[in-house]
Symmetry: C2
Subunit: 171 residues, 2 copies
DNA sequence: CGATCTATTTATAAACT
DNA sequence: TAGTTTATAAATAGATC
Protein backbone atom coordinates (compact mmCIF):
# COMPACT_ATOMS: atom_id res chain seq x y z
CA UNK A 1 0.00 0.00 0.00
CA UNK A 2 2.06 2.82 -1.04
CA UNK A 3 3.75 3.89 -4.20
CA UNK A 4 1.78 1.13 -5.86
CA UNK A 5 -0.93 -1.33 -4.87
CA UNK A 6 0.30 -4.91 -4.73
CA UNK A 7 -1.56 -8.13 -5.45
CA UNK A 8 -2.53 -10.28 -2.49
CA UNK A 9 -0.33 -13.23 -3.37
CA UNK A 10 3.09 -14.59 -2.47
CA UNK A 11 5.76 -12.05 -3.44
CA UNK A 12 7.95 -13.96 -5.87
CA UNK A 13 11.06 -11.79 -5.58
CA UNK A 14 12.81 -13.02 -2.46
CA UNK A 15 14.57 -9.80 -1.46
CA UNK A 16 11.36 -7.84 -1.87
CA UNK A 17 9.52 -10.48 0.15
CA UNK A 18 12.04 -10.20 2.97
CA UNK A 19 11.79 -6.42 3.05
CA UNK A 20 8.01 -6.60 3.12
CA UNK A 21 8.09 -9.24 5.86
CA UNK A 22 10.27 -7.11 8.06
CA UNK A 23 8.24 -3.96 7.54
CA UNK A 24 4.88 -5.63 8.06
CA UNK A 25 6.13 -7.67 11.01
CA UNK A 26 6.90 -4.40 12.75
CA UNK A 27 3.56 -2.94 11.78
CA UNK A 28 1.70 -5.97 13.09
CA UNK A 29 3.53 -5.85 16.41
CA UNK A 30 2.63 -2.21 16.78
CA UNK A 31 -1.02 -2.96 16.00
CA UNK A 32 -1.19 -5.67 18.64
CA UNK A 33 0.49 -3.40 21.12
CA UNK A 34 -2.04 -0.64 20.44
CA UNK A 35 -5.02 -2.98 20.56
CA UNK A 36 -4.04 -4.41 23.93
CA UNK A 37 -3.27 -0.97 25.33
CA UNK A 38 -6.37 0.81 24.08
CA UNK A 39 -8.85 -1.99 24.81
CA UNK A 40 -7.35 -3.64 27.89
CA UNK A 41 -6.97 -7.11 26.45
CA UNK A 42 -4.16 -9.64 26.43
CA UNK A 43 -2.80 -10.59 23.07
CA UNK A 44 0.05 -12.24 21.28
CA UNK A 45 1.08 -13.23 17.76
CA UNK A 46 2.91 -16.32 16.62
CA UNK A 47 4.45 -16.09 13.16
CA UNK A 48 6.50 -18.84 11.59
CA UNK A 49 9.07 -17.54 9.14
CA UNK A 50 9.63 -19.21 5.79
CA UNK A 51 10.57 -22.87 5.89
CA UNK A 52 14.15 -22.07 4.96
CA UNK A 53 14.75 -20.12 8.15
CA UNK A 54 14.09 -20.60 11.81
CA UNK A 55 10.62 -19.59 12.91
CA UNK A 56 10.18 -16.04 14.13
CA UNK A 57 7.72 -15.54 16.93
CA UNK A 58 6.40 -12.94 19.27
CA UNK A 59 4.53 -14.01 22.36
CA UNK A 60 4.78 -10.26 23.13
CA UNK A 61 5.45 -10.55 26.88
CA UNK A 62 5.37 -6.77 27.33
CA UNK A 63 1.68 -6.68 26.49
CA UNK A 64 0.93 -9.58 28.80
CA UNK A 65 2.83 -7.90 31.61
CA UNK A 66 0.95 -4.68 31.15
CA UNK A 67 -2.45 -6.34 31.20
CA UNK A 68 -1.55 -8.53 34.14
CA UNK A 69 -0.51 -5.47 36.08
CA UNK A 70 -3.65 -3.62 35.10
CA UNK A 71 -5.74 -6.52 36.34
CA UNK A 72 -3.77 -6.70 39.55
CA UNK A 73 -4.52 -3.05 40.16
CA UNK A 74 -8.24 -3.40 39.42
CA UNK A 75 -10.79 -3.18 42.26
CA UNK A 76 -10.93 -6.22 44.51
CA UNK A 77 -14.61 -6.93 43.88
CA UNK A 78 -13.98 -7.19 40.17
CA UNK A 79 -11.21 -9.69 40.71
CA UNK A 80 -13.05 -11.71 43.33
CA UNK A 81 -15.71 -12.71 40.84
CA UNK A 82 -13.07 -14.91 39.24
CA UNK A 83 -11.09 -16.27 42.13
CA UNK A 84 -13.38 -18.90 43.66
CA UNK A 85 -12.20 -22.36 44.41
CA UNK A 86 -11.11 -24.11 41.22
CA UNK A 87 -10.27 -27.54 42.60
CA UNK A 88 -13.08 -29.50 40.95
CA UNK A 89 -12.61 -27.71 37.66
CA UNK A 90 -8.89 -28.28 37.78
CA UNK A 91 -9.50 -31.95 38.43
CA UNK A 92 -11.69 -32.30 35.39
CA UNK A 93 -9.32 -30.20 33.35
CA UNK A 94 -6.26 -32.29 34.17
CA UNK A 95 -8.09 -35.51 33.53
CA UNK A 96 -8.85 -34.39 30.01
CA UNK A 97 -5.59 -32.88 28.86
CA UNK A 98 -1.95 -33.74 28.26
CA UNK A 99 -2.40 -37.43 27.59
CA UNK A 100 -1.91 -39.67 24.61
CA UNK A 101 -5.60 -40.49 24.26
CA UNK A 102 -6.63 -36.87 23.95
CA UNK A 103 -3.86 -36.38 21.43
CA UNK A 104 -5.24 -39.17 19.28
CA UNK A 105 -8.76 -37.82 19.61
CA UNK A 106 -7.59 -34.39 18.52
CA UNK A 107 -5.76 -35.91 15.57
CA UNK A 108 -8.79 -37.85 14.44
CA UNK A 109 -10.99 -34.81 14.80
CA UNK A 110 -8.78 -32.77 12.51
CA UNK A 111 -7.51 -30.43 15.20
CA UNK A 112 -4.12 -30.12 13.55
CA UNK A 113 -3.97 -26.45 14.35
CA UNK A 114 -3.89 -27.33 18.04
CA UNK A 115 -1.12 -29.81 17.44
CA UNK A 116 0.98 -27.28 15.58
CA UNK A 117 0.64 -24.75 18.35
CA UNK A 118 1.40 -27.34 21.00
CA UNK A 119 4.46 -28.38 19.03
CA UNK A 120 5.60 -24.80 18.91
CA UNK A 121 5.06 -24.31 22.61
CA UNK A 122 6.88 -27.52 23.48
CA UNK A 123 9.71 -26.38 21.24
CA UNK A 124 9.86 -23.01 22.89
CA UNK A 125 10.05 -24.65 26.28
CA UNK A 126 13.01 -26.68 25.16
CA UNK A 127 14.71 -23.57 23.91
CA UNK A 128 14.21 -21.78 27.20
CA UNK A 129 15.25 -24.80 29.24
CA UNK A 130 18.58 -24.96 27.47
CA UNK A 131 19.31 -21.26 27.38
CA UNK A 132 22.08 -21.62 29.95
CA UNK A 133 23.95 -24.30 28.04
CA UNK A 134 26.64 -23.52 25.50
CA UNK A 135 25.76 -21.92 22.18
CA UNK A 136 26.64 -24.92 20.05
CA UNK A 137 24.22 -27.15 21.88
CA UNK A 138 21.51 -24.51 21.70
CA UNK A 139 21.96 -24.09 17.97
CA UNK A 140 21.68 -27.84 17.52
CA UNK A 141 18.45 -27.93 19.48
CA UNK A 142 17.04 -25.06 17.44
CA UNK A 143 17.83 -26.85 14.20
CA UNK A 144 16.20 -29.98 15.54
CA UNK A 145 13.09 -28.12 16.56
CA UNK A 146 12.72 -26.60 13.12
CA UNK A 147 13.01 -30.00 11.50
CA UNK A 148 10.54 -31.43 13.97
CA UNK A 149 7.94 -28.79 13.28
CA UNK A 150 8.45 -28.86 9.55
CA UNK A 151 8.19 -32.62 9.49
CA UNK A 152 4.88 -32.40 11.26
CA UNK A 153 3.68 -29.83 8.75
CA UNK A 154 4.61 -32.10 5.87
CA UNK A 155 2.94 -35.13 7.41
CA UNK A 156 -0.22 -33.19 8.11
CA UNK A 157 -0.40 -31.53 4.73
CA UNK A 158 -0.03 -34.86 2.99
CA UNK A 159 -2.54 -36.74 5.09
CA UNK A 160 -5.09 -34.30 6.42
CA UNK A 161 -5.85 -31.55 3.93
CA UNK A 162 -9.58 -32.24 3.93
CA UNK A 163 -9.98 -32.33 7.69
CA UNK A 164 -8.03 -29.15 8.12
CA UNK A 165 -10.18 -27.36 5.60
CA UNK A 166 -13.29 -28.67 7.29
CA UNK A 167 -12.04 -27.50 10.67
CA UNK A 168 -11.14 -24.10 9.27
CA UNK A 169 -14.56 -23.59 7.73
CA UNK A 170 -16.30 -24.37 10.99
CA UNK A 171 -14.43 -21.66 12.90
CA UNK B 1 -6.00 7.44 13.72
CA UNK B 2 -8.65 9.34 12.01
CA UNK B 3 -10.76 12.33 12.77
CA UNK B 4 -8.55 12.79 15.78
CA UNK B 5 -5.39 11.28 17.18
CA UNK B 6 -5.98 9.30 20.36
CA UNK B 7 -3.69 8.75 23.33
CA UNK B 8 -2.09 5.34 23.68
CA UNK B 9 -3.85 4.37 26.89
CA UNK B 10 -6.89 2.40 27.99
CA UNK B 11 -10.02 3.96 26.50
CA UNK B 12 -12.11 4.85 29.54
CA UNK B 13 -15.49 5.09 27.81
CA UNK B 14 -16.71 1.51 27.56
CA UNK B 15 -18.84 1.84 24.44
CA UNK B 16 -16.06 3.61 22.61
CA UNK B 17 -13.63 0.94 23.77
CA UNK B 18 -15.88 -1.79 22.42
CA UNK B 19 -16.22 -0.09 19.06
CA UNK B 20 -12.49 0.40 18.82
CA UNK B 21 -11.87 -3.21 19.80
CA UNK B 22 -14.14 -4.51 17.10
CA UNK B 23 -12.68 -2.27 14.41
CA UNK B 24 -9.07 -2.93 15.30
CA UNK B 25 -9.68 -6.63 15.75
CA UNK B 26 -10.79 -6.74 12.14
CA UNK B 27 -7.86 -4.65 11.01
CA UNK B 28 -5.42 -6.90 12.83
CA UNK B 29 -6.89 -10.03 11.30
CA UNK B 30 -6.58 -8.50 7.86
CA UNK B 31 -2.96 -7.57 8.52
CA UNK B 32 -2.10 -11.10 9.61
CA UNK B 33 -3.87 -12.49 6.59
CA UNK B 34 -1.91 -10.20 4.30
CA UNK B 35 1.42 -10.92 5.97
CA UNK B 36 0.99 -14.68 5.69
CA UNK B 37 -0.19 -14.44 2.09
CA UNK B 38 2.44 -12.01 0.84
CA UNK B 39 5.40 -13.52 2.66
CA UNK B 40 4.50 -17.21 2.76
CA UNK B 41 4.56 -17.63 6.52
CA UNK B 42 2.20 -19.25 9.02
CA UNK B 43 0.71 -16.97 11.60
CA UNK B 44 -1.98 -16.65 14.19
CA UNK B 45 -3.16 -14.22 16.84
CA UNK B 46 -4.58 -14.97 20.25
CA UNK B 47 -6.48 -12.13 21.87
CA UNK B 48 -8.16 -12.39 25.24
CA UNK B 49 -11.14 -10.10 25.59
CA UNK B 50 -11.74 -8.10 28.75
CA UNK B 51 -12.04 -10.08 31.95
CA UNK B 52 -15.78 -9.53 32.10
CA UNK B 53 -16.41 -11.49 28.92
CA UNK B 54 -15.31 -14.77 27.49
CA UNK B 55 -11.99 -14.61 25.68
CA UNK B 56 -12.02 -13.93 21.97
CA UNK B 57 -9.41 -15.71 19.92
CA UNK B 58 -8.28 -16.29 16.40
CA UNK B 59 -5.94 -19.14 15.71
CA UNK B 60 -6.80 -18.12 12.11
CA UNK B 61 -7.04 -21.62 10.64
CA UNK B 62 -7.64 -20.23 7.14
CA UNK B 63 -4.12 -18.81 7.06
CA UNK B 64 -2.66 -22.04 8.38
CA UNK B 65 -4.54 -24.03 5.78
CA UNK B 66 -3.33 -21.81 2.99
CA UNK B 67 0.30 -22.03 4.03
CA UNK B 68 0.08 -25.78 4.59
CA UNK B 69 -1.32 -26.22 1.11
CA UNK B 70 1.28 -23.93 -0.39
CA UNK B 71 4.00 -26.01 1.26
CA UNK B 72 2.41 -29.20 0.06
CA UNK B 73 2.49 -27.88 -3.47
CA UNK B 74 6.12 -26.77 -3.26
CA UNK B 75 8.82 -28.66 -5.18
CA UNK B 76 9.77 -32.00 -3.67
CA UNK B 77 13.43 -31.14 -3.26
CA UNK B 78 12.57 -28.15 -1.13
CA UNK B 79 10.42 -30.28 1.14
CA UNK B 80 12.85 -33.17 1.34
CA UNK B 81 15.44 -31.01 3.04
CA UNK B 82 13.18 -31.07 6.09
CA UNK B 83 11.77 -34.56 6.14
CA UNK B 84 14.66 -36.70 7.37
CA UNK B 85 14.26 -39.21 10.13
CA UNK B 86 13.18 -37.51 13.34
CA UNK B 87 13.14 -40.48 15.70
CA UNK B 88 16.05 -39.47 17.91
CA UNK B 89 14.87 -35.89 18.07
CA UNK B 90 11.36 -36.96 18.91
CA UNK B 91 12.71 -39.09 21.71
CA UNK B 92 14.54 -36.20 23.26
CA UNK B 93 11.60 -33.92 22.70
CA UNK B 94 9.11 -36.18 24.41
CA UNK B 95 11.39 -36.76 27.35
CA UNK B 96 11.52 -33.06 28.03
CA UNK B 97 7.93 -31.95 27.65
CA UNK B 98 4.49 -32.49 29.14
CA UNK B 99 5.51 -33.49 32.63
CA UNK B 100 5.13 -31.99 36.06
CA UNK B 101 8.84 -31.40 36.54
CA UNK B 102 9.16 -29.34 33.40
CA UNK B 103 6.12 -27.38 34.50
CA UNK B 104 7.76 -26.53 37.80
CA UNK B 105 11.00 -25.62 36.06
CA UNK B 106 9.12 -23.31 33.72
CA UNK B 107 7.32 -21.74 36.65
CA UNK B 108 10.53 -21.11 38.52
CA UNK B 109 12.15 -19.65 35.44
CA UNK B 110 9.39 -17.11 35.01
CA UNK B 111 7.96 -18.62 31.85
CA UNK B 112 4.44 -17.64 32.78
CA UNK B 113 3.66 -16.69 29.23
CA UNK B 114 4.13 -20.31 28.26
CA UNK B 115 1.80 -21.42 31.01
CA UNK B 116 -0.91 -19.01 29.93
CA UNK B 117 -0.74 -20.17 26.35
CA UNK B 118 -0.73 -23.81 27.37
CA UNK B 119 -3.73 -23.15 29.55
CA UNK B 120 -5.51 -21.58 26.61
CA UNK B 121 -4.66 -24.43 24.32
CA UNK B 122 -5.76 -27.03 26.84
CA UNK B 123 -8.98 -25.09 27.27
CA UNK B 124 -9.56 -24.90 23.57
CA UNK B 125 -9.09 -28.65 23.26
CA UNK B 126 -11.75 -29.21 25.90
CA UNK B 127 -14.10 -26.97 24.02
CA UNK B 128 -13.59 -28.88 20.82
CA UNK B 129 -13.86 -32.25 22.53
CA UNK B 130 -17.30 -31.42 23.84
CA UNK B 131 -18.68 -29.78 20.73
CA UNK B 132 -21.04 -32.67 20.08
CA UNK B 133 -22.62 -32.62 23.54
CA UNK B 134 -25.61 -30.50 24.40
CA UNK B 135 -25.36 -26.73 24.56
CA UNK B 136 -25.90 -26.44 28.31
CA UNK B 137 -22.95 -28.67 29.08
CA UNK B 138 -20.80 -26.76 26.62
CA UNK B 139 -21.69 -23.44 28.17
CA UNK B 140 -20.78 -24.79 31.59
CA UNK B 141 -17.41 -25.92 30.35
CA UNK B 142 -16.75 -22.56 28.75
CA UNK B 143 -17.53 -20.75 31.97
CA UNK B 144 -15.21 -23.08 33.83
CA UNK B 145 -12.41 -22.48 31.38
CA UNK B 146 -12.73 -18.74 31.74
CA UNK B 147 -12.58 -19.01 35.52
CA UNK B 148 -9.62 -21.34 35.29
CA UNK B 149 -7.64 -19.00 33.08
CA UNK B 150 -8.57 -15.92 35.04
CA UNK B 151 -7.66 -17.60 38.30
CA UNK B 152 -4.25 -18.39 36.88
CA UNK B 153 -3.84 -14.78 35.82
CA UNK B 154 -4.69 -13.56 39.32
CA UNK B 155 -2.32 -16.01 40.96
CA UNK B 156 0.46 -15.07 38.64
CA UNK B 157 -0.02 -11.35 38.90
CA UNK B 158 0.00 -11.53 42.69
CA UNK B 159 3.05 -13.78 42.99
CA UNK B 160 5.21 -13.30 39.96
CA UNK B 161 5.23 -9.74 38.76
CA UNK B 162 8.98 -9.39 38.98
CA UNK B 163 9.77 -12.61 37.12
CA UNK B 164 7.37 -11.76 34.36
CA UNK B 165 8.88 -8.34 33.93
CA UNK B 166 12.36 -9.86 33.88
CA UNK B 167 11.27 -12.40 31.31
CA UNK B 168 9.65 -9.71 29.18
CA UNK B 169 12.74 -7.55 29.15
CA UNK B 170 14.90 -10.41 28.02
CA UNK B 171 12.80 -11.13 24.96
C1' DC C 1 21.62 -5.67 3.91
C1' DG C 2 19.69 -1.49 6.78
C1' DA C 3 18.07 3.25 7.16
C1' DT C 4 15.46 7.24 4.96
C1' DC C 5 12.35 9.34 2.12
C1' DT C 6 7.67 10.20 -0.16
C1' DA C 7 3.68 9.12 -2.89
C1' DT C 8 -0.08 6.37 -2.08
C1' DT C 9 -2.92 3.18 -0.09
C1' DT C 10 -5.13 1.74 4.27
C1' DA C 11 -6.91 1.97 8.66
C1' DT C 12 -9.83 4.19 11.60
C1' DA C 13 -12.11 8.01 15.18
C1' DA C 14 -15.96 10.46 15.21
C1' DA C 15 -20.24 11.55 13.32
C1' DC C 16 -24.30 10.00 11.52
C1' DT C 17 -28.13 6.56 10.33
C1' DT D 1 -26.15 -1.99 18.90
C1' DA D 2 -24.70 -2.36 14.12
C1' DG D 3 -23.68 -0.28 9.55
C1' DT D 4 -22.10 3.75 6.63
C1' DT D 5 -19.57 7.96 5.81
C1' DT D 6 -15.65 10.92 5.81
C1' DA D 7 -11.79 13.49 7.33
C1' DT D 8 -7.49 12.39 9.06
C1' DA D 9 -3.70 9.56 10.95
C1' DA D 10 -0.80 5.49 9.89
C1' DA D 11 1.27 2.08 7.26
C1' DT D 12 3.98 0.92 3.57
C1' DA D 13 5.93 -0.10 -1.72
C1' DG D 14 9.30 1.48 -4.22
C1' DA D 15 13.20 4.37 -4.70
C1' DT D 16 17.52 6.01 -3.06
C1' DC D 17 21.60 6.14 -0.24
Amino acid sequence: MARRKIKQELISNESKRKVTFKKRKGGLLKKIDELTTLCGVMGCAIIYNTFNNRPEIWPSPPELTRVLNRFKESPEEERDKYTMDQKILLGRHISMSSNALEREIKKNRGLEVDLILNEYLAGKSMEDLTCLEDAKELDLLLEEKIKLITDKIVTMSLKSKEVIVKNANEK
